[in-house]
Amino acid sequence: MAEDVFRELRGDYVANVGQVVTPREYLDYLEPLGSALSRRPDGVGGPFVYQFRGSGGRVIGAMGWVVSAASKRYGGWNLWGVWTEGPIPALALPLFWTELQDASQLPGLLRRANDDAASLRNASAWPDLLDQVDPTPLNDDDLRSALKVELSRLYRLPHPQERPIEVDLDASSLELLPWIHLLGPIDPAAAQLQPSRFNGTGYQYILTDSPPAGGDVVTDIARMVDATASDVLQGWRMASALRERRARPKPATPRKQQRPPVESIEMATPSRSKPVPAPAPRPQPNPLSELLPLVRDVMIVALLAWIAFNVHQIRRNMTNTAATQPAATVTAAETEAEPEPAAPPPTREELIAEALLARPPQGIRMEAAAAKNLPHTAVEIFMRRNNCFARTEPVDGKFSTAELRAMRNCKSLAGERLMRNATEPHAERSLAWLENAVSAQ
């Protein structure tokens, strides 16, 4: 009997022993997976698609679900899933999504994955597998809209080198992830997916308490998502075409002339008969089509030169006229026709707030509300800079209970005399301190 291609992966936090994983030798690789879930309650987590180079340089792929086990120990986690030699196949996550979420369904998932192992690794068999991916969740209008917004954002982002793209979502929006993995800008054959930071290509999802924010939707992305909702294979092909277009090196001509606006990205809508992953053959270069951009560029340059010449002439004429007119000819009427009074100069607070939001102190997270209460913000920043409070906590212009408690023990704060009493900052001193801090950057 041939050895299974996909094998079981389990991990748990065992009291008095620590974090354990089966197979044992992969613990060091898998340990970071759940660490970012430390602050989440028990059972909160999500999927992962991960690959690493184990002993002997073998590439090991792993896919599963990792959740916080905070009740056992802060920072502890549980995981379940599958591992295999080589990367996890591109379609595995959407294909096994439903079973993956439930640890009790892992045996069934393993059986199915091993039955389909050959097809999963063979791109020519993917159309059949894609037909097995259930698009029903995309019939939900809210989910579909959220997916359009998120994919539009992801496609607009520059391609990060060996770094993941961050995706913010709440626990109820996890359903977006298999579709982001399948349709997103990173080739799913190479894309990793983790809740923790990693060096590599893929997506790092960050679980927050609020659902993903809204945003603009790119027309082509919307078409792709709508197509996927009715036919996953069709959506996959559109995504492949979009990724290919995105990965294509930019022409040498000026970017301004060449790059079409995002809203009007033209995308081929391949038919089902085309081979799935293989890129479409590129058309032979046409001499006329090569000549046209050149002619257009020459015309643009000539036009710009003509405009520059005319502007120069106009300026020279105006200078000559002003030089010949005596100062006494300025009439009262001209004096009255002064431009409208300029907007009042920004106040000191506004300047500080503007500078603070534009250049937040290094390593300190600023929320927009911080600009509304600068004295409080000054004290919050001071505490973080002087190690009296965790830098990871965002500055929001309000004192939390934890901050108030930390303030009482912060000797540096007492020495700087930024507080008027135990709870209120000294407005003038704290503003002055903040102004100095901002201008020093």
């Binding site: 008095n16 660490s35 180079r53 120990r73 802060y74 923790s196 930071r197």
Partner: protein
């Protein structure tokens, strides 16, 4: 030896390297990307090249000394050989340099204890806190984390700490090595275990004014937990080496419960002072400390010491442990009652009244711990017996403490008597 000691003395504790380069502080995100380009960093920690480093903060938005080189002076240096960030306390003058090795099994409270000792600004919990008389300045970075946010879950087996302690005109540099207990378990990876042994060898080649090896052992009535006692052979210095101090940090004492008050009174009835003290503590209304307090505690200590076969009397032992912790809690309000600071109460007030009370509590803690130890695995029996000899110094090999803090919104945490360690060290170096 004397001529070259100073030059040889500045070593990287991780690899023994003697050359260092200055580095700037950058974003932790940058550190995270750069660490993969310096495989020796992971190699010297027994980690495979491809292994990631666990962080609880998903966006890595804090500062961390990077791997870049700077030519301008920087307080942060890395070893040329293994690229480890070396806290300045490891490279300071050996006369004021002290090595603190802490190790313990998972969930023993080791990281919490260290965080409390090194960075106590956010929570009140220490016997000598709040006071401005002891200044402590922790080195902010505990690579790959920070002292403000030491991650409890990590595959990194060794963390380097640093802290400068000042008291009046004295100054001590505490160089700390936090050894993760998992590496000594059978399930651990052999690479990490061997690396830790290498690191301990490197550390032994350096000179320190004092070496403290603290084993963190949690209070556990089940006696099933594996503790770290078997490490003693690895972690102690050569026989006869000067200034080695071993001790136990006995955590989670707040979990001890009063199982049977009557059984406890019956056990103590042979001594009136002891039983009276126990009744006052159980009653909870009277003053715990009186003129017979030291005599009472001495009697309890003797009774515990003279009793054999604790295995069958664990409930009584737990009640006595509960008694100890209640006394520790009661001690924390004494300085306030006398209107003096906690440090002054410990050192100077009424001829060092605090010190006498605390010493007695510590002796009781040691015999209680030894009783639990002998009822279980017996790892530390020899060490405690030796430390309890009349001429031994210091006389408290066991530092008892509660580890559970009160809820976030409350003012005070429970006492962690770890600061006694600092007080004692300061006095020895005075």
């Amino acid at each position: 030896m004397g001529l070259f000691t100073k030059a040889v003395d500045k070593r990287c504790p991780i690899c023994g390297g003697r050359q260092f380069y200055a580095v700037p502080v950058g974003r932790a995100e940058v550190w995270h990307q750069q660490v993969d380009k310096h495989p020796q960093w992971k190699h010297y920690r027994g980690l495979p090249d491809g292994a990631g480093v666990a962080f609880s903060e998903p966006r890595l938005e804090w500062d961390q000394p990077t791997f870049d080189r700077v030519t301008i002076p920087s307080p942060h240096v890395r070893c040329e050989h293994c690229t480890s960030l070396v806290p300045p306390q490891f490279l300071s003058d050996r006369k004021s340099r002290l090595l603190l090795i802490t190790t313990g099994m998972p969930a023993a409270g080791k990281t919490t204890w260290l965080k409390c000792l090194f960075n106590p600004s956010s929570k009140k919990h220490l016997i000598a806190e709040p006071t401005t008389q002891i200044g402590r300045e922790p080195y902010r970075f505990v690579e790959p984390y920070t002292i403000a946010n030491p991650d409890p879950r990590t595959a990194v087996p060794i963390l380097l700490h640093g802290m400068k302690v000042t008291f009046q005109r004295q100054q001590l540099d505490v160089a700390g090595i936090d050894v993760k207990g998992e590496v000594f378990q059978q399930s651990g990876t052999p690479d990490k275990y061997l690396r830790v042994l290498d690191i301990l060898t490197n550390v032994r080649k350096m000179s320190y004014s004092e070496v403290l090896t603290m084993f963190v052992v949690p209070f556990d009535t089940t006696l099933l937990r594996q503790n770290i006692g078997q490490l003693t052979t690895h972690l102690t210095h050569e026989p006869g080496s000067r200034g080695t101090w071993q001790g136990v940090i006995w955590t989670h004492l707040d979990r001890a419960q009063l199982r049977d008050a009557d059984a406890m009174f019956a056990f103590l009835q042979s001594n009136e002072d002891a039983v009276a003290l126990a009744r006052r503590v159980v009653g909870g209304t009277e003053e715990v400390f009186d003129s017979r307090f030291v005599a009472a505690l001495t009697a309890i200590e003797r009774l515990v010491q003279d009793t054999r076969n604790w295995t069958g009397r664990l409930e009584l032992l737990e009640s006595l442990t509960w008694l100890l912790y209640r006394i520790m809690l009661a001690y924390t309000v004494l300085p306030l009652r006398f209107g003096v600071g906690k440090v002054e109460f410990y050192f100077a007030f009424n001829g060092g009244l605090g010190e006498k009370l605390v010493q007695q509590c510590m002796r009781l803690a040691a015999v209680l711990f030894a009783a639990w130890d002998s009822a279980g695995r017996g790892d530390f029996a020899g060490m405690i017996r030796e430390a309890m000899r009349p001429d031994a110094e210091p006389q408290f090999p066991v530092l008892p403490c509660g580890i559970e803090f009160l809820s976030e919104d409350d003012e005070d945490g429970l006492p962690v008597w770890g600061d006694l360690l600092l007080l004692e060290l300061l006095r020895r170096h005075g």
